[in-house]
Symmetry: C2
Subunit: 510 residues, 2 copies
Amino acid sequence: MAAGFASLADSRRQLQAEAVNSGGADQKIIETTGARIEGLKEYSIEDVSKHDSPENRVWVTYKNGVYDITDFIPMHPGATKLLMAAGSSVEPFWAMYAVHLNNPAIYEMLERFRIGNLNLADAASQAEQIASDASDPYSTDPARHKAIVVNSKTPFNGETPLSILTDSFITPTDLFYVRNHLPVPDVDIKEYELEVSGLGIKELNLSLAELKKLPKHKIVATVQCAGNRRAEMRATKNLKGLEWRGGAIGNAEWAGAKLSDVLNAAGFDENDERIRHVHFEGLDTDPSNSPYGASIPIEKASDPRGDVLLAYEMNGEPLNRDHGYPVRVIVPGVAGARNVKWLGKISVSDVESDSHWQQNDYKGFNPSTDWDTVDFSKSPAIQDMPVTSSICSPAPGAKVKGGQELAVSGYAWSGGGRKIVRVDLTADGGKTWTQAESLEQDTARHPRHWGWTVWKGKVVVPEGVEETTEVWSKAVDSSYNVQPETFANIWNLRGVLSNAYCKLKLSVQN
Amino acid sequence: MAAGFASLADSRRQLQAEAVNSGGADQKIIETTGARIEGLKEYSIEDVSKHDSPENRVWVTYKNGVYDITDFIPMHPGATKLLMAAGSSVEPFWAMYAVHLNNPAIYEMLERFRIGNLNLADAASQAEQIASDASDPYSTDPARHKAIVVNSKTPFNGETPLSILTDSFITPTDLFYVRNHLPVPDVDIKEYELEVSGLGIKELNLSLAELKKLPKHKIVATVQCAGNRRAEMRATKNLKGLEWRGGAIGNAEWAGAKLSDVLNAAGFDENDERIRHVHFEGLDTDPSNSPYGASIPIEKASDPRGDVLLAYEMNGEPLNRDHGYPVRVIVPGVAGARNVKWLGKISVSDVESDSHWQQNDYKGFNPSTDWDTVDFSKSPAIQDMPVTSSICSPAPGAKVKGGQELAVSGYAWSGGGRKIVRVDLTADGGKTWTQAESLEQDTARHPRHWGWTVWKGKVVVPEGVEETTEVWSKAVDSSYNVQPETFANIWNLRGVLSNAYCKLKLSVQN
């Protein structure tokens, strides 16, 4: 299969080259995929439906096409999701995971697995069925602030522009980055109940009012997507994932009940050695009604000093829909993906969540691991995030002169409750360093310093540089961990953990 | 003063150059320092004794010489220690801090501050007094295993040779590195009492037998000197500190009472917001009877999950004298310097320890901070240590051939209870990486994984290399923090936190 992928990449590059000339190759691939091909074998919907597992071979349909995708499954990042379409049409799933739509590489890939046509009668009735089901699952998503930079509309993913990100220590809710994996659920608060259950505890079903009766805790905590700053890593070498520029991070005040209090209310016994993980399920679901899910280790969940909140307020207001109304988990210091929104269910377990996002995404690998060799079971799910920083001002490409003193500002953050102790800056590739003189932080102490640092410093543009120069930022946290220097040596195929030095390019005009 | 230092460095280089020719310049400096210089003003011991503080100017004597060292004090790494000699002879202090002895740079520095001679009568009586006091403070130090690589005899500092360091997961006590700051005290167990006192708690005085009545906890924990691997950082650019090659680390099983239990027994109230730090004092003292000391934050000290032990056993045996008999603190995940040996006193406080080693040593700075600009008050004392790794086999300079598969092994560790999740290896400067396939670890989980990882992996020496090649190791911990790539960008004047990639040089013989 490796060879298949390589040759696909080759033909893709060739197609792209042709598209530049013809202007239409991509569009043609999209339009012709799934069209009848006379002479291929004809199948019925019933024939296809029998091929619903790897043991029986996995067949799917797309428009008039029938495909045997069994050999593709191990290579698909969302293999468990893909299996839900086994024996039926992929079209509802592509509507949900809209990254597939209008992506010619995906259409071309599918067509490589073509084995036949759906018979004319079944193709027509299936098209009718899909059309009648096809209310856009994203049609009830909330409106967003127009300043948010949109990376994907469905599911909605948008980030705060770097130019305004550090203008306030607390990120305004409407400008806070949004990372959704599925449509935003429309929760009826009268019906809402949070289920708490699992190994060795008694089941609780808590309304929002009941949750609010538990002691209310407030923390300042930064939430960051594990893929933040991916664009900088991608500039080294291509990879899969949303184009986060550095704004998939924000700092807010969160209020809610402590998860440790809820676990205690359910009779959790910290000496129960079987319990290793706490699972969270969102009320956001895919076409097979499967929810978004994640888990965190019991050590973090049950420690009152871990400050894991079942938050119902953000910046002093009830959560809004994009940020998890009515309740989300805030797991401070931990990757955004574990901070499950629209929380419907908490369960304690001896094993990790088996969700796609826990098992087959949000993990780190070394730079030589590619899609042919990756084994997601061999790498731990990202929890605590490593130290990072980003330069928010000046803007990339800003004009500077040799000898000029330049004000530089940005943010820095480290996971695991580690406070930033220093931000070093250099304008000459590390020959000389200055230290950011202002670090705006809240008063929490290591290892419960969950909020970010907004920093300001100065560098002098070296004399004698021409055309372009770079300013670098390097943060150091309270464990004296420091950012790695280059993306090349931390590159990974999913573009997560993208925490190398921020190297801002500027235009020199002497 | 900066200029003074620069010109001193110049004249030092010149002297060294001359010494190469003459073979005796260094020895001459040592022999002539403190000799009478006819024509200089004569002072009495009483004259000198009046100059005992910066307000009165600080004078000291060495043999027949009188020196006004007031302007030197801000530049001395141990300024608080230096002031103890104010108004008297430096000779007893140099016997204790033996790094001074026979170091021509130090003798030459002192002579630059010469203001006069001690009068003949006083010089003679003082010499007699010093000679009668001069029982070697290190004469009662214990014997050490001959395999230990000695970096300093007095105080004793020695490390485990890298060639044997990872032969066992638990480092044998006799081969465990020793980092002493002062002579080893000879504790009479019948007299021993551990004092526990301070802000808001009741005073306890615990015999070893009483300490043993508290619940006994065992942990596997690595202890590492904050200056471990300094030799690799020094190879980038010179700095001050002992020449640790990578063996100032070891992994042992420690047993003792939890500090949190002792604090609770003394009535510690975790809601007492005044209490911020817990101080430790050793029974090892300097000529002014001042003990070794350090402190840790209350968050670490009082948290039972922090696993801070008052350890009386190492690897199943009572502590030996070099490792702190009868009781030392084990602060797992934290720099060795806070793991105070020969523990005499614990006190809770609103402020950090004012000891030299807490305030003016064991702190990090950026590479542009030098001895003229350093301000130790501006940097936090090192507590949790960052992620590190070292290659222990093959040995540096081992002979290899292009195309050869090479077995590589070593250790990796991260502070703060973070487990090692991956060790990446490359033999071609990062173009391709392999992952160490064996990670030997204990079963503790993040964030209480205090022990190290002994790893084994393979790389292939690239074809076409000539003369020398390098193998690099890069560890990743459970917060996905990763080692920085080069020492140049983390260099600091004290050579601590030396955790860049290990880059092992090998000889190519094709």
